[in-house]
Symmetry: C2
Subunit: 186 residues, 2 copies
């Protein structure tokens, strides 16, 4: 079937277009809902921490509040018995991921999680692709480089591309399976 | 050494008095800080979810917001490689713990966490004592009873008392060790 402009409509290929323009955070939230409903994983976004200064208790209304800097990563939960802890970051830069995106205490948090046996990573949107980059590789890069950004080449070579999909919108659990549960999958 | 009124000061015994009147939430937050600083566990309280309706972006000020009902439990994190997820509840009733303290979606969340291999429980303050009551026992009680509250006797018989201390203020990790890591401790 041909549409105006002689464009052949291909639903399957078109659907990820629906996601285009959708914020990375929304794609992950939608995926988490899918994982929850299908009993695959229990992962939530933590609420944004807000310092509440003034409340009208009669109306249950917050009249004065300020955003606080979070000391952990945004998402955590459980998958296949493992503790999962990650954050989602976007950059418009095509050549490198600025490390200013990651606060010092967030880096420390990643280190702690990994040390205690959890899985921690970043989902990075860059050059229209979604990468899962393992926390150990991020820490390793930072500790062995003076650079203030991670070059795209490092992400391309060490990250794993997460495919956009219909449901879930961003199937990062599939990448966790292939990266962190390699042995169990054999 | 005797103090006015012939009272022998016993520092060790007196210190938990400092905690008296301190909210359960604060005792747990202090304990979590201790666990974090001493590299024992990585457990945080989730921020209270707030629906932000109006923001003055120039001042970074939230002018209108409302508290939302949380769909998970308040605390989660990792200990000894295990995913930990729990909530803290207080009741003034001396005879039973009202189940209205626990929302339906919080109960569902507990079930999911346990099913996926995590550890979930409540810390209940009742009759001036702190109990850790395992999630499975709570679910089991609710599914086999029509009562709208858990009798104190059930909590006394099945919960484990968490001792108040100096640092950490409430050593619930010790109870997790004895209850959930019994075999590993042998």
């Amino acid at each position: 079937m041909l549409y105006p402009g002689n464009i052949k409509k291909d639903y399957k290929r078109n659907i990820p277009h629906k996601n285009r323009g959708m914020k990375l955070e929304n794609l992950i939230n939608l995926s988490n809902e899918y994982y929850l409903e299908n009993d695959i994983a229990v992962i939530y976004k933590k609420p944004t921490p807000i310092l509440v200064c003034q409340v009208d208790y009669k109306k249950n209304l917050i009249k004065e509040g300020y955003y606080k800097v979070p000391s952990t990563l945004d998402y955590n939960g459980i998958y296949r018995g493992k503790y999962i802890d990650f954050d989602a970051k976007e950059t418009l830069s095509k050549t490198s991921f600025p490390l200013s995106n990651l606060h010092d205490h967030q880096l420390l948090h990643m280190k702690r999680v990994i040390k205690h046996g959890g899985i921690s990573f970043l989902i990075i949107k860059m050059n229209s692709l979604y990468y899962l980059l393992d926390g150990k590789l991020i820490i390793d890069f930072i500790e062995n480089n003076d650079r203030k950004s991670i070059p795209y080449e490092y992400i391309e070579n060490n990250g794993i591309v997460i495919k956009e999909n219909i449901r879930p919108a961003l199937d990062y659990i599939k990448v966790i399976d292939s990266y962190y549960f390699k042995e169990e999958n054999l």
